[in-house]
Structure formats: structure tokens, C-alpha cells
Symmetry: C2
Subunit: 360 residues, 2 copies
């Protein structure tokens, strides 16, 4: 087995989660990730933990959803009971065919998500969980890479010195926490200001996502002013949004366009009132990720990028009693800040041309 | 997908178990059986049931067991909670490498089984369960067959008219139930008598095993007299027992030999006092199975065979207050009765040269 699989497993068990003796560990993984499951079981055996694995099969899920009446989806009692007795959850993504569920009616997907809500709540509230990625040929194909290049890409992103990464991110968190205002300037068509006054900055150093490598906060809801062009592509419902351009006044999108799939952008903005406002400002800090892969788990952590999300705010970033932007959507859009770009806080450079102030 | 996979799934859902709307169904399957999982999910969606799947991975199980201290194996709380909330369990066998766990110390396997005992008890007592087989290249290899020939073999055995099979087996059950004594005669070196007085005969028509196709009972413990040669091979701990010859007096093995692995036979007989006595008399009645495959799920159902098990008796066959042969082992051994052989009950032919009295 590729030795990087063992390193990946060790990061999951010892850094992302803190598995101890006697812990009931639930692994959720597709068949294509069996190597990682094997490596995890070896470590979990050494730790004296108690693993079991749920097979994630989009093919089976598709067959079930197509055969099922949307009205009949209901919480699975055995899945809920299992989650209630689980201490640690390790979720592994890895496709065999990224288009597997394209012929499932969207209302079936929504009905399934609603039915699963109690299981999800239980995981979020009462387990130590992490989501990660195992490299597969299908995901390589979706990223436009050879399988070996994708495999290198995944392990460069996940097998890092996460203690050093945490320290580096903490410096950015402290600057953002103290800041009243942020300004993003890039090229000729991005100059945006956002108030961060009183908002909390958070660090994702691979506690819940592996790869991690992101610092994020939420702007004051009505404070966003100016224009921004998102020059890196993102995939939404299987379609690519390219060169999205947004103009904000008093926190609300007043003009919008996209070089590709502008209708999809419009439908996002029409979801609800919150979808026209910014719920998140994020800074990608994982230098192991040097290109977009159309996989959000990676793209939003990419070093030298800043992202804004239209829609629902980040709960941890918004203090109680402050206005919280609510929406049914949360759509991340990315700006490349590696060249001809800067992010300022309170008039001082935080990030210029891909380097933070302490790296200049 | 091979249409026989859909037939197999339909038999599992509609005959072996009785899945209804709202039932929580637990599928346990290896990655190699994903086709069958997909077919099951389609049917379970049509029925409005709620499936989830546990990945069976002997590779992961091996890695875990080797890394784990035997003393640390303990019941998995999440597995037990899941089983307690489960209505129907469909277990699927199908190897990727039948030798996958050959380098796991036997005491680890025993520790794991002991730890899993409460989960097993819950399945047996409070769920509707079935064990079946999905064809894989590794199992084909173990049977000495091409993958396509093995696939045909599996579907010939499982996709049958189980209602007709049940009626055919019921006739044999009634004869055995009423019988006081059975006598098995085959070739020159098999002539054995067993008392069935008061014992109950049972029919396996694919309620808990698919393939099914067996009628079985337990003999009166000290009643077995005579000699028997088991001329079909069986595999025990990865080694083949061939042409086992046993001589019984007062129900106990007094002489034994085997053409291959006689030492293994001796070690079975030395396990405990019950291992030298017969716990089961079984009659294979599945005519879709026409050769031994070294897979017990199939071999003991093979049409034209009779088997005896050394060791633990069958609970359902022994009335309360009757002596029950207890042992840590239950080793099935097969006699080919397709030619030059007969099984009599109370002096009348039940089976001669592979045909039952009602087929003569």
C-alpha cells in the first residue's frame, strides 16, 4: 500500500480526531477507499478503539431514491441509534463516478436530507467528526488530472505539519479578530470593503476537514460595498460558475454577471433574501493546494485565494445578539490573490500577492 | 447488470425475509458485492423500507485484529445499538481473497467472536435475517471454477422456485418426524444406524440461508452404530478433509481415519467429549447444486448428499428435556448418495441413488 495512506490515517486518528481506547468509531467510506479503511483499522486496533464501517454507495443510493416515493423518506432508526452510540466519525469521500446521481430528482435528495437531519444533528452535537478525501480515478478525471497526479495532489494537501499550520493560521486569526474593516483589491475589477466589527475569526486547521487550512469569519451583514470578480471556477449542481462579477451596495448584490452559467448564478441569488448577501469571508492558507480541483473541500483551502460565500453565515463567527445572515444556500466563490492583489485590514496589508505580512 | 442479480435480490427481500414499509434493513456486504447491494436498494426503495449497509472488509478486519491486543476486544456499543434498532438483516458473503485472514492468530478470532456475542444474540433473537452469497472471482478460484462458471453455479443454487422447494422438503420432514430409526447404506464401507426417536426434523427452504435446500434433525446421542465413509471433501481451517472414515459404537467414534489431513480430523475429535458424537443428520435437497464447491453454505444443500455433523447438536431438532450433544465444534461431513446408496427410515426407503421415494 502507498505509505502516504498510512500517514493520512495517522493524521485522521491522532490530529483531526482524538481516538482513545474503547472509543466507538464509525467510518463512512465508499468501496474505492478500502485502502484507507484498512490503514485506519490498523491504527484503531493499536489504540484499542472499536471501529465499524458504513459503505457509502452512490449507486445504491441512486437506485433507492429513484424507487422510493419522496413522501416516504423517514429517519432510519438504526442509523440514528448507531450515531447516538458513536464517539468518533471519520467520513471519507472518493467517487467511482462523479455523475452517479445526476438522474435522481432533486426533491428526492431534499427528502433524503430532511429525513437524515436527526442523524446529522446527533453527529454534529455529540461526536468528534472529520470529513476527508481518498484519491480515486473518477475524482482525478473530474479535476482533469491523471490518477497519479491527483493522488499526489490529495496527499500534498492532507499530509502536512498541522501543528505548524495551526500556529501560522492563529496569527491571521488574531489580526482578523482585532480588525474593524477589511478591504480586498485585485486587478482592475475587484475593490470591496467589509466591516468585521465584533465578528469572530475561526481557524480550520484540519479538525473537521482534512485537508484543512482556512481562516474565516462573517462580515457585518449590511456592510459590504464595492465590486468583486471571482476569477477561479466553482462547480454548483454539476455546472461551472466562471468569472462571476458582483456589485454590492449596503451589503446587497445590486448587479451580477458571469462568463459561464449566468442563469445558474441568477437562480442562486433568487433563492431568498439572504442569498444576495455575504455570509462568509474566508482565506485559503494550505500551500499544499496550488490549483483549483473543482472539489470544494480542497479549493476553499487553496493557498493564495480568498473566498466569499453568498448566503448563510458561519455560526461560530457571529456573536450572539448580532444579526446573522440566514439563507437556504451557502455558495463559496473564489478570488485568486496570488498576483496583483491585496487584502487589507484597518488600512494595513494582511496579504499581498499570496504572502502574509509576516512572510513579506 | 446481470438480470440474475435482480432475481437474487427479489428472493432475499420477498422470500427469505418479509421486508415491509418502514422496516429498518441492515445489509452487511463486502465491496465486491456492490451490484447486489444496488439491486437490493432498488427493491427496498419500492417497498418503502430504510436500508443501510455495513462494509465487510476482511482486509480491514485482519489489520485491526493483528494490531489489537486479544484482551482488549470488547462489544462495539454502536454495532449493538444499531442491531437493536434493526428489523431485517441481509448478510452477503463474497471474497476478494479467501486467504485474507490466514495470518491472524486464532485467539484474536475467538476474542473477536466473544466480543461480538451480544450483537449476534440480538440479531438471532430480534431480527429477521438471512445469509447469502454473491459470486466473486476469488470464490470461483477457491472452487476451482472460472468466474463465469461459478456465477452460473451460484445463481442456479439461489434463484429457484422456493415455494415448490418448500413443499418437496415438507414431505421429507414429515417422514423423518414420524421415524424411529434411520439407516444409511452406501458402497462397501458405509452402513450406519441412528435413532431419531422423538427428535424433530427441520426444513431449511431459504429462510435463513440462501441457497437453502436441506432437511435436518439430530440423532439420539448414544444411538449411532456402524461405519461411514465421507467421500466428498470438506474444508476445515483452510485444509481439506478427504475420505474420512469413522466407526461408531454406542454413539461414540471408536475408530477414525482420513485419506488427507488425518491429523486435522484427530484434533477435531479431541476438542471435547461432544466432538466424538453426532449432532446432526442432514439431507441435501437443492438440485441446483450438483457438485461440491468447498463452500459449506452450498455443499450441505447439494442434491444427492447426506451429511453428518460431529459435535454440537441443532437446537431446533432436540425437544426440551432430551439429551443435547454439546460441543465447541460442529463439523459437517458429506456422503455422496447419488449412486449405490440408500437412506432408510424404519426399514423403508426414503432416498435411493439420489431419488426420494416419491420420485422413484
Amino acid at each position: 500500500m502507498d505509505p502516504r495512506v498510512h500517514d493520512h490515517a495517522a493524521t485522521l486518528v491522532d490530529h483531526c480526531t482524538a481516538v482513545g481506547a474503547g472509543d466507538d468509531v464509525l467510518v463512512k467510506a465508499p468501496a474505492a477507499a478500502e485502502d484507507l479503511v484498512v490503514a485506519l483499522y490498523e491504527l484503531l486496533g493499536e489504540r484499542g478503539a472499536r471501529p465499524k464501517t458504513t459503505l457509502l454507495s452512490p449507486r445504491a443510493g441512486r437506485a433507492y431514491a429513484r424507487a422510493m416515493d419522496a413522501a416516504d423518506f423517514c429517519t432510519k432508526a438504526h442509523a440514528l441509534a448507531e450515531m447516538e452510540a458513536t464517539d468518533v466519525v471519520i467520513m471519507v469521500q472518493g467517487a467511482t463516478n462523479t455523475a452517479e446521481t445526476t438522474d435522481v430528482a432533486p426533491e428526492k435528495g431534499r427528502a433524503s436530507s430532511r429525513a437524515n437531519q436527526p442523524v446529522l444533528q446527533t453527529r454534529l452535537e455529540s461526536t468528534d467528526w472529520v470529513i476527508t478525501q481518498h484519491p480515486t480515478p473518477a475524482d482525478a478525471q473530474a479535476a482533469g488530472l491523471s490518477t497519479d497526479a491527483w493522488t499526489d495532489f490529495v496527499y500534498d494537501a492532507v499530509n502536512r505539519d498541522w501543528v505548524a499550520q495551526r500556529e501560522r493560521q492563529q496569527r491571521v486569526v488574531e489580526r482578523l479578530d482585532a480588525a474593524s474593516e477589511a478591504r480586498l483589491v485585485a486587478g482592475d475589477d475587484t475593490d470591496l470593503t467589509l466591516s468585521l466589527d465584533g465578528m469572530a475569526a475561526c481557524s480550520d486547521h484540519a479538525q473537521e476537514n482534512l485537508p484543512g487550512g482556512e481562516v474565516f469569519t462573517s462580515p457585518v451583514v449590511d456592510s459590504v460595498e464595492g465590486e468583486v470578480t471571482f476569477d477561479l471556477p466553482v462547480v454548483r449542481r454539476g455546472r461551472e460558475l466562471e468569472d462571476v462579477h458582483l456589485v454590492f451596495e449596503d451589503g446587497v448584490v445590486v448587479d451580477h454577471d458571469a462568463a459561464r452559467n449566468a442563469d445558474l448564478l441568477a437562480s442562486v441569488l433568487e433563492t431568498d433574501a439572504g442569498a444576495r448577501r455575504v455570509g462568509e469571508l474566508g482565506i485559503g492558507m494550505n500551500r499544499g493546494i496550488d490549483r483549483v480541483s473543482r472539489t470544494l473541500l480542497f479549493d476553499e483551502k487553496m493557498g493564495g485565494t480568498v473566498h466569499l460565500a453568498l448566503g448563510n453565515a458561519i455560526e461560530a463567527a457571529v456573536p450572539e445578539a448580532r444579526e446573522f445572515n440566514e439563507s437556504a444556500v451557502h455558495v463559496d466563490l473564489l478570488v485568486d490573490v496570488r498576483t496583483d492583489a491585496r487584502l487589507e485590514v484597518d488600512g494595513e496589508v494582511l496579504l499581498r500577492d499570496g504572502s502574509f505580512w509576516f512572510e513579506a
